[in-house]
């Protein structure tokens, strides 16, 4: 059983050769990136790209394969980030112990919320997830134990420290994030061939039919939502040690949830590479454009561009860029 799972996760044999080559190129690019490009800003953008890949791959499960517009990914990220930060700041617990706990908190939170929220469908569900994440953000802004609106700053260690994941050089963070993304991709590769993956896609295609086939719709959605929470929790834990600082506006913000959803949507929701393509386009665009425009005192143009992209994509090609690629491939 375990061996089969592993084999499923590691075999990309059913994908077309072009996709496999693309994947290998992506791995090589990520591996050699810190050795070619030395600019601090570029490396920071790359790490952000990897974090967002992780978020996007997680959201793609419920938003893409599941077709449920959950706009609360930021709260899962935030739950885990806050758990990790609090444990480190207040009790000095090593990162490697905090992270599983943070992920656990994010997952349990997803489970409890998902259990109630998945009674709702469509619009109601989407708005309810927004409402919940806004409640969490308000609570964290006003809750002094977790630092309130000021946020939490992690103590700086004197020497680079593996136990608390504190390094001077961003290379370590880069490779750590890369390993996380690779695990996520392998998981996705297993997921799309797994029982849960097929059940989820059946639900997206037609809930009534899926139910009549004996699939427990509610349970499948809740399970998937929990897995989404795990991905977001990993991302949140990494975010905390990478930035050494979190506040309710960086990890709990609705804008983060929106960004994750838009990114996946632009890249192609419900496809394996969609979130990565989306992150590849949106994150560098966001950071470089934001820096360039911000330096000139222009604010908001970057978000206007994404909004335009998302409106065009959802009006004409709801499957995103990956959908366009697949269409072109089918024509050939």
């Amino acid at each position: 059983m375990q061996i089969r799972t592993l084999k499923d996760a590691l075999s990309f044999g059913d994908l077309p050769a072009s996709e496999r080559i693309g994947f290998i190129l992506f791995i090589i690019f990520c591996l050699i990136f810190p050795w070619i490009i030395k600019g601090g800003f570029a490396q920071a953008v790359m790490i952000q790209f990897l974090i967002f890949c992780l978020y996007g791959l997680g959201w793609n499960l419920i938003g893409g394969y599941g077709g449920q517009v959950a706009l609360g990914q930021a709260k899962n990220v935030g739950m885990s980030a806050y758990t990790v930060a609090l444990l480190i700041v207040r009790w000095d617990i090593p990162f490697w112990v905090c992270t599983p706990l943070g992920v656990l908190v994010a997952t349990v939170e997803s489970f409890v919320l998902g259990y109630f929220l998945f009674r709702l469908r469509g619009h109601y569900f989407a708005i309810a997830t927004i409402a919940v994440s806004l409640v969490w953000q308000q609570l964290f802004i006003n809750w002094n134990f977790v630092g309130g609106a000021r946020g939490i700053e992690l103590p700086l260690r004197e020497t680079p420290n593996f136990i608390y994941m504190q390094f001077v050089s961003p290379i370590y963070y880069h490779y750590f994030a890369f390993v996380l993304v690779m695990i996520a991709i392998l998981y996705m590769n297993w997921f799309r061939k797994s029982r849960l993956g097929y059940q989820l896609r059946a639900i997206t295609a037609n809930e009534e039919v899926a139910e009549s086939l004996g699939i427990n719709i509610h349970w499948v959605k809740v399970k998937t939502y929990c897995i989404t929470g795990v991905f977001a929790g990993m991302g949140g834990a990494f975010y905390t040690v990478y930035y050494n600082y979190i506040d309710p506006f960086s990890v709990m913000h609705l804008e983060l949830s929106i960004m994750i959803a838009l990114m996946t949507m632009i890249g192609g929701a419900g496809s394996m590479w969609g979130p990565i393509i989306g992150a590849m386009i949106l994150i560098p665009l966001d950071r470089y454009l934001g820096a360039w425009l911000g330096g000139r005192g222009i604010i908001g143009v970057d978000f206007m561009i994404y909004a335009m992209m998302v409106m065009i994509i959802s009006a004409y090609e709801p499957k995103g860029i990956w959908g366009i690629i697949e269409k072109a491939r089918r024509k050939r």
């Binding site: 517009v69 619009h123 308000q138 604010i299 206007m304 998302v310 709801p318």
Partner: protein, 286 residues
């Protein structure tokens, strides 16, 4: 006791405005089953329209109401014909994220033009005045807003029930195909629903500017209040939107006074959450 009384009055006044904001959302949802995430941004556009016309031409803010209504109407029509029409063909995720894109676009457009500053009107017929009745202080802007909101709400309510146009809209809401067979131009009705939604929320914005400050990200707050109101009243129900608006006003003002002002909006979200979980069709939904 006096505090309770003045809070209740203020809550009712705000509630009428919330009802007007929610009305547009209820009409749009009722006619075509799509949730307009940009609704709060429409309100912001109405507020900025009123603010700019009032300051640039230095006219009485209340006279900007028709202009804000017109701008809202055009914005609604434009959104329908340029975006929503295409979204309706796609899957639901595209519909949701499409209006979401519109919301972000309008929000950051305002951010780009006006900057993140808070602006208020300083001169006007109602602004800054109040009257003392016994122990209760009534502020003119809120009172005027409540009265005019009621009036606007009443006009729309009357229109929906007693004019041919309103009946056609209702028919489209009930069954698009059947309405089409009856000779109703359903495409136009849908555009009109967006126009009406935009116009009512534009009026609400022009009223709100009399006593509230405007800034580019104000939308999400009122959008969530409107969602909560509409969910409480039942999606698509106009009568429900009115009663739920009053309840919402109570929750916000009483909660703000007795629990703590920093939690009053968390209470809105919580109400919404409880309503959709416990009674998803709302008070008067169908």
């Amino acid at each position: 006791m006096e505090m309770l009384l003045s809070t209740l009055i203020s809550a009712l006044q705000m509630g009428m405005l919330f009802a007007l904001v929610a009305l547009g959302l209820a009409i749009i949802f009722g006619v075509m089953n799509i949730v307009n995430f940009a609704h709060g941004e429409f309100l912001m556009v109405g507020m900025y329209t009123a603010f700019l016309t009032a300051t640039i031409f230095s006219i009485e803010p209340l006279l900007t109401l028709p202009i804000a209504a017109m701008v809202g109407f055009l914005l609604g029509i434009a959104s329908y014909y340029m975006l929503v029409r295409y979204l309706l063909k796609g899957p639901m995720i595209a519909q949701l994220l499409g209006t979401f894109g519109l919301m972000i676009f309008l929000r950051y457009l305002a951010m780009c033009i006006f900057g993140p500053d808070y602006e208020t009107l300083e001169h006007g017929l109602l602004i800054g005045k109040s009257i003392k009745l016994g122990a209760v202080v009534l502020s003119y802007p809120r009172l005027g807003t409540a009265v005019l909101s009621m009036l606007a709400f009443g006009i729309i309510y009357w229109m929906m029930d007693y004019t041919r146009l309103g009946k056609a809209l209702k028919a489209t809401a009930l069954d698009v195909e059947a309405a089409g067979y009856m000779g109703i131009d359903t495409e136009r009705m849908r555009g009109l629903a967006w126009g009406l939604g935009g116009a009512t929320v534009g009026i609400a914005g022009a009223l709100l500017i009399n006593f509230y400050y405007v800034f580019p990200t104000i939308g999400i707050l009122f959008c969530m209040i409107a969602f909560a109101t509409v969910a409480l009243g039942g999606f698509g129900s106009i009568k429900g939107a009115f009663i739920a608006g009053l309840i919402m006003g109570m929750i916000i003002d009483l909660g703000g006074t007795y629990i703590g002002p920093q939690y009053k909006f968390a209470l809105v979200y919580l109400t919404f959450f409880l309503v959709v979980v416990i009674r998803p069709k709302g008070l008067f939904g169908w």
